[in-house]
Symmetry: C2
Subunit: 209 residues, 2 copies
Amino acid sequence: MIIDSSQLNQFENRYRAILINSLAGIKQAFLIGTKSLDGNSNVAIFNSLVHIGANPPLWGFICRPDTVQRDTLRNILETGQYTLNMIHKDHSENAHQTSAKYPSNVSEFEACGFTERIIEPFTAPFVEEAPIKIGMKFEEKINIAINGTLLIIGSIQYIELDEQWLSDDGFIDVAKANTLTCAGLDAYYENKFLHRLSYAKPEKWPSNI
Amino acid sequence: MIIDSSQLNQFENRYRAILINSLAGIKQAFLIGTKSLDGNSNVAIFNSLVHIGANPPLWGFICRPDTVQRDTLRNILETGQYTLNMIHKDHSENAHQTSAKYPSNVSEFEACGFTERIIEPFTAPFVEEAPIKIGMKFEEKINIAINGTLLIIGSIQYIELDEQWLSDDGFIDVAKANTLTCAGLDAYYENKFLHRLSYAKPEKWPSNI
């Protein structure tokens, strides 16, 4: 079937949001942990992480300032730090529940069945249950004028994982950690490793490495 | 195991690139199809698609101007259009091979075993073998000053897919289309649907929908 731009424009807003979000495909799900200046912990699910560069190690994520994500955003801008926590596939319900609109003074850790872990010198809380934990320093906020969203860029400061998931060449297989991926606003997936392929060169077909 | 920022800084460049790229997790793989002003077709694999908004329907992707991606970038900026093509999991080798540094006048379609399809009024070529085809109009180029990468934003103009993958509420299950996901620079995955969960509310635990 074909959906053209005039049909897209005519869809009811909720239908279009579900369609366009899910069509963007499957992404790694992350819990972002933050703490407000007055000490309230916050954790929220995000799926818009993008790799920006490896040297320095920079990642970004898209944030909509007018949603439940605003607590996360305010805490990052005020404290300059946040944690990224991958999610075990058995915790999809807990992770999804962090997207409920809890009051700012309620910790989603407690409400959603996760455990806070503080790893000094970070004040932003990590998720104890996360198989892979990453500590981030806020670097840059980029305004996306076309629709008022933000690209939040941070640098990787700390990584904690099981060394069994790390190959000799630096590759980390997040499927070995049974991590959760997601699509759209509410769909969750697990992942099966197919293969790694050799560096692509014009004169040679890729092979498994 | 723990990797801190001083260890990260000391890693050899290639090791750090593999590590930081793969740690960003699993993403949907897309082939971006473009055509140059002088008529050369180009297709290249990308995995950095992010959802920017649904109304208007906007997606972005990260582009490094100093790599094999430069042909794609130049064609998008010159012609104002590009296609996004999801990849069947059986085509991972073909898709990976598009990342080889072919000369600008070589079509990766032919070299990598894909078939061009023109869908008017688009001049940018679609990938015939792609289970889901999306036509994009270039909207905005955002410079990420911190490391010289670009965020390329486009609006969705055209969608072609099998209606069996589309639910009544607008949800598209890309796993039903057997689409390929990837991690890092060379790892490929397939995906298994777990569940969709009900809209999260503070007073109610999510359930399958």
